[in-house]
Amino acid sequence: MNRDQQQLKVVPARYPARTVGAIVALFILAGVVESVALNPRWEWGVFARWFFDPVILHGLGQTLLLTLLGTVFSLIFGGLLALARLSSSWLLSTLAWGYIWLFRSLPLIVVLIILYNFSYLYDTLSFGVPFTALAWGHFQTINVLGQFPAAVIGLTLVQAAYSAEIIRGGFLGVDHGQIEAASALGLSATRRTFRIILPQALRAIIPTAFNEIISLAKGTAMVYVLAMPELFYTIQMIYNRNQEVIPLLMVGAAWYLIITTVLSAIQHGVERWLARSVTRDPHPSRWRQWRSRLNPVAAHEEISHVRSH
């Protein structure tokens, strides 16, 4: 660089249209906030009165419980379905395909109502070997399939079909060389699946799975057809009595917003943790640093002359 060039100054590029756009957007946002806050018909007083009401909180609890159970059961069942679909057994993969086909075709609301009316189809349920007299227990359907079990089972049955496809997609996304390498090392099928393939598949599975969990959290509102007092049904009951429709719907909306925000935060954390082996930052996590201090494979100077990163 000669003396002349050293005195040159760099002027950053300017984008006036972006500034204008940002100002317009902020202006519109301020207008919306102003109207929502100052229009008395939104009745924020009623909103505040009901937001932490025990009845609402109980409904919220039911919604969270349904979401949790639905997620856990559908991921377990969906995982098994995915393994069945990927299995080399023709019968297993066809059965799994049939299940997924059926429950992706049926609307959740239909499944829920059929389950709720199951006692009409079958008076008793028994636990035993079909086509034999062997049985370990008989139950009155109407006692077993109450609102809550029907809701959990219905959500699980339908959600598992979607989870299965998400998990299968994640498995298919893992490089085939990984399976070969694991086989060449003589790792068993179980160890290959859970130790080598699944952790890598998770990176593809997690974003879509959280989409599904968030849908499920809101989708639990569907169980109002079973007259089950989860968040949305509770809100409906209240506004039918006091006619404060909008503020109570706002209570529900705010709670669903909070649930989704928390789930998104968890998703962000999980994704960051799973990405630890791909980030450009070569520092191991604190946990690994700590562990390698306990288990030292002492660092030696590099013997050969390779370029290092």
Binding site: A181, S183, G186, L187, Q200, S277, A298
Partner: protein
Amino acid sequence: MSEAIDYRQAHATGAITITGVSKSYGRHKALDDVSLALDPGSVTVIVGPSGSGKSTLLRTLNHLERVDRGLIQIDGDYIGYQRRGDRLYELKEKAILRQRVNVGYVFQNFNLFPHLTVLENLIEAPIAHRQLSKRDAVARAGELLDIVGLRHKADAWPRHLSGGQQQRIAIARALMLNPRVMLFDEPTSALDPELVGEVLDVIKKLARSGTTLVIVTHEIGFAREVADNVVFMVDGKIVEQGSASQVLSNPRHERTRRFLARVL
């Protein structure tokens, strides 16, 4: 990088006998009646144009690929079968996995497990097979990382290593199980030219360590240097085999001469 690999017993094992092996994909014959006998502890380099069946042959040796016809034996054991009297019983998955422990495999694309650190990649198989306790596995991994010159990378992620470093780790990983046979499927083909040497140096250290090596490669100079046998394949058949000097310097077949003229 001068210390010899002396952890193996002196008596050589790892004799390979391939008898009349054929393998087809649809109408394409990948292997056509291939027979080959390799001495324990020997170094064999397989060369040939692409699509000649070199890699397929290598993959059949640890049953990553089933053969349609023919038999493969390592130290008398039939790969994929068990002999009882006059019958060969097809082995179940578990028994096949146990056979693979004796055969190390190094892939063209390394195939390190990206979600495990270098050390975890190495200790995975011996712990899974309960060959070594975790502590012994870590100690052994340290020795092997010394041999490939990468002990300081034990806690690194595979993706943060160069191709040459990844391949050296992959070799160390295969050695963790103390295999009698090591198979290398074009171990340097995915590497930048300046990184080829470091991987070949590691393989040279393994030669004459007692382990039988079978290497598919295009590095003719390397073959000349380390190979006891050179096998030249075309269209799923062995055209010519013999000592390195014989096949590479004085080939008898016209086809071999034409191939060597093109790659040298």
